[in-house]
Amino acid sequence: MAILSKDEAQTILTKVLSYSKADECEITLTGTTGGNIRTARNMVSTSGAIDNVELEVESRFGKRSGRATCNEFDDATLRRCVQRAEEIARLAPESPEYMPLLGPQQYVSSNAYAPSTAGITPDYRAEQAGASIRLCDEKKLSSAAFLEDTTSFVAKRNSKGLEAYQQATNLAFSVTVRTPDAKGSGYAVADFTDRSKFDAGRMTQTAATKAAGSLGAKAIEPGKYTVILEPAASVELLGNMMESFDARSADEGRSFLSKKGGGNRKGEKLFDPRVTIYSDPTHAEVPSLAFADDGRPRRKTTWVEKGVVKNMFSSRFWAQKSGSADIPEPGGFIMEGGTQSLQDMIKSTQRGILVTRLWYIRAVDPQTLLYTGLTRDGTFFIENGKIKHPIKNFRFNESPIIMLNNIEALGRPERLEGSLVPPMKIRDFTFTSLSDAV
């Protein structure tokens, strides 16, 4: 019963709401079904299936709030769950940041669901894993991969008349291919709403080519280099930066978006004019949920336009207190790019480094958003428009703020982790030491 239709979900929600004795009550019903398969050393190591529906009740008495959840749906359990939320609410301290529940909302129509993905079977997963393994067996390479698909829905209803429902599907696949002597390694990763765009064999081929091509890596001196970051290399750094677009942290003086002397830097030009980042739940390539956890509508929102900070997200409480825009956190982000392919970008590079993936990224200084981490699974030296040879991995210490001021070129965006990210050519990217890791 994991995936309920809108009518089925709202029938349950209406019934549960009728049990409420609280001043305000909001019910959220979520369901997930799907599975995964994991391989290593060209064999299946583990696989599993998920199938769960969960109901959450939030009850409020005045400024006191309590939440309870259950995953069984007989009347007695549902009633008990409502009672439990009410008991927890009565015992809770009053929240100084209380905001009344939202009333009816208008949501944009976002199609984040593909029947093809919802129909994935264990056989399909085994076939895709098998295709990836066979390719590596034939080439005498060793692969480790992970395929995970989920079909989910979220439905909400509250005592103020809010109603929401949406379904979503996702398939994510990543594969690391290594040479038998463990001296070469390559990687490919992608995620999809619709499985018909996915081909494990093709992605494994990309990783295999990188693995074979990274044999015989030479060490070059750490320092500042022009880099071409593939989307898998930059998505986490950009995601971390977007996470810092929180108005409250900025206003409180503990964010890179805080202004000296107080306030925030909305309206300031902080990046190269080619940088435009927005979110859009209706985007055809990266559709996401049209509403946030608290029921606020997600609409197309521009965070950075031509290098200027345009918006920050905020809790409802902080938006009201500070008078800032009431914008919920997005479901993903879209960074605009150009039309160049990765090959075009390499061709136009005199001297630089192609980075497949960055790994173990950790914050070093929240003030400057300085992060450290390492290159991994395919790092290549570019000279006169061509990949010259593989190089040993580097540790970097760099801030996405600095990166986005040092742009040389942006390529065609690709989907990763529910966001759209272009390959980026960046000058003066800081590598601080060499690593022997392959």
Binding site: A92, E148, R254, G261, W359, T372, S399, D436
Partner: protein, 550 residues
């Protein structure tokens, strides 16, 4: 929940993209009183477990185990003078793992009835048989005797779930008040508590009932200089522990004075959150004006509350056999410490480096009586006199390295996740000669004393790392001369451990650890401790992490 979200909850890393409003950390949200209700009954569990094991055997399994688990957790989040969230979670269900046609299969269910478990067992066998078609080498399990009906419980003095929430909230708010009184602009404090009630049974004839407790109080204090726009944070110097609420009842005997001139205090088996919050606020303010480090080579003196994570990353993960063999290649990575590397007999560290793995140390996060595949836990050597002597293994790995027994390293984060090899406690043994931290520092000419958790990053084969901390004090000519900032050290694992020059004695030994250590796909968390005494490393490369932006 994915590790990213777990880590985000702790405020220690920035991995959580658009974290939703403070969820609990798994399971159904329940009334806190529910966490004290007995649900697990060994007699009933044995009957249920037998139903699963019999169904698995009838379906063709050559081996089966079942874990019936009730996983309880509670988290409390506060900031300044207010409570942000209190969540109590309960998750109850069972996972069945089988070997059929030489291949693993796993299925889980929240229908904890004889029929529900039998169905899960049959599904697990069906999955194993399907996967066997692409299996090349059949799984070989190390022999394991059945223990019959046995039980184990974390030796706690006070169950944290029995302490009224109001009392726990009051303590966190009192810590916040101490920080604010001492000049903090912001303070976030958090208390995480876990109780795993788990019943394991296998076709080897074990029926194991366990009750495992863990606790982690922590906070972050922020000081801001509005005029310059600068802000600095000082994290708590608590440790996540395998203890009950007694950890939050400070005892003088558990306090160890830090180096003269730092004001720091080391905490053993109890933690004084009020004292640490007050000091944290003063230090956060001091950090705003502390001198920026001059990059170069320094002798590092590392407090156990910092060194624990260095051990975790550079020895703990590097000696996990699944990583060594390539099972984690697509995610966490592999290891430089391969079987070939070990055979070459190169020194992992200097002769004074002795590292043990263990699953039995009282107070530690990893301590259990039996692991999640029914192996009695033990302590064993990993590095002896600087040389790598062994790895961390599960039952299906022992044969691969020609050994006869598992080390008891199997763990699953809940009943619905399959168990796999997870890190034991991995600890550096104290120095044999009497030495206090002040004795150690008086011999350091140019050094840095580092305490607390900071940024930890290491490559996928555990060679190159860069670690930060929460407090940094300059050491000049044998004396602490004040706080410094913008410090991170970069090193290679072998060079670093071979530069180990002195280790304080047992009186300085303390546990530190990781409450939410992530590994696997889908990612699972586990909790693990690392013990050490303050340790000196010579000539380590220190970089300055300050940058200028916009």
């Amino acid at each position: 929940m994915k590790r990213r979200n777990f880590v985000g909850l702790t405020g220690l890393a920035t991995g959580a993209l658009f974290l939703p409003n403070f969820p609990g950390f798994g399971g159904n949200l329940v009334d806190p009183a529910r966490l004290l209700e007995p649900v697990m009954d060994a007699t009933v569990n044995k009957r249920l477990a037998d139903a699963a094991l019999n169904a698995a055997k009838s379906a063709g399994a050559s081996y089966a185990d079942v874990r019936i688990g009730r996983y309880l957790n509670q988290s409390i989040f506060t900031r300044e003078k207010q409570v942000q969230n209190i969540a109590s979670g309960e998750s109850y269900g069972a996972g069945v793992r089988v070997l059929a046609n030489g291949t693993w299969g796993f299925a889980a269910t929240n229908s904890v009835t004889e029929a529900g478990l039998a169905k899960a067992a049959q599904l697990a066998v069906q999955i194993a048989k399907a996967n066997a078609k692409v299996q090349k080498d059949p799984v070989k399990l190390a022999p394991q005797k059945g223990y019959g009906e046995v039980s184990w419980k974390t030796p706690i003095q006070q169950n944290a779930f029995e302490v009224p929430i109001a009392q726990k909230v009051d303590l966190l708010l009192a810590a916040n008040a101490k920080a604010l009184e001492n000049g903090a602009n912001f303070v976030n404090s958090r208390l995480f508590q876990i109780n795993e009630q788990k019943y394991f049974a296998s076709t080897d004839g074990s029926y194991i009932d366990q009750d495992v407790h863990r606790i982690w109080p922590t906070f972050g204090v922020t000081a801001i200089d509005r005029a310059s726009g600068k802000f600095r944070t000082r994290e708590a110097l608590s440790a996540p522990m395998g203890l009950g609420y007694e950890y939050l009842m400070p005892k003088a005997a558990d306090k160890i004075a830090g180096p003269a001139g730092t004001g720091l205090i080391g905490y053993k088996n109890s933690y004084d959150i009020l004292e640490d919050a007050a000091l944290a606020a003063r230090q956060a303010k001091e950090k705003l004006t502390a001198k920026s480090v001059t990059p170069g080579k320094y002798d590092l003196v590392l407090d156990p509350n910092h060194l624990g994570l260095t051990i975790h990353e550079s020895i703990g993960h590097a000696t996990e056999l699944d990583r060594v063999l390539g099972y984690e290649a697509n995610y966490a990575g592999t290891s430089f410490a391969t079987l070939d590397w070990k055979a070459k007999k190169q020194p992992y560290g200097s002769k004074m480096v002795n590292v043990v793995a263990d699953k039995v140390q009282p107070g530690s996060l990893g301590a259990v009586g039996y692991d999640d595949e029914g192996v009695k836990t033990k302590r064993w050597d990993i590095i002896k006199d600087g040389m790598l002597v062994d790895y961390q293994k599960t039952r299906d790995q022992a044969a691969i390295v020609g050994q006869q027994e598992s080390d008891g390293c199997s763990y699953a984060q809940s009943w619905q996740d399959v168990q796999f090899q997870r890190m034991a406690n991995v600890s550096l043994l104290p120095g044999k000669q009497k030495m206090s931290v002040d004795d150690m520092i008086k011999n350091v000419d140019k050094g840095i004393y580092i305490a607390g958790r900071g940024s930890f990053s290491i490559d996928q084969q555990r060679y190159n790392f860069q670690f930060g901390g929460t407090t940094f004090h300059a050491i000049e000519k044998g004396k602490i001369t004040g706080m410094i900032e913008d410090v991170a050290y970069q090193a290679n694992t072998q060079e670093f451990w071979n530069s180990c020059a002195a280790i304080c004695d047992e009186s300085d030994y303390r546990l530190f650890g990781s409450f939410f250590d992530g590994k696997g796909q889908p990612s699972q968390v586990s909790a693990v401790s690392h013990g050490s005494s303050t340790t000196r490393f010579n000539g380590v490369n220190v970089i300055n992490t300050a940058r200028k932006v916009g």
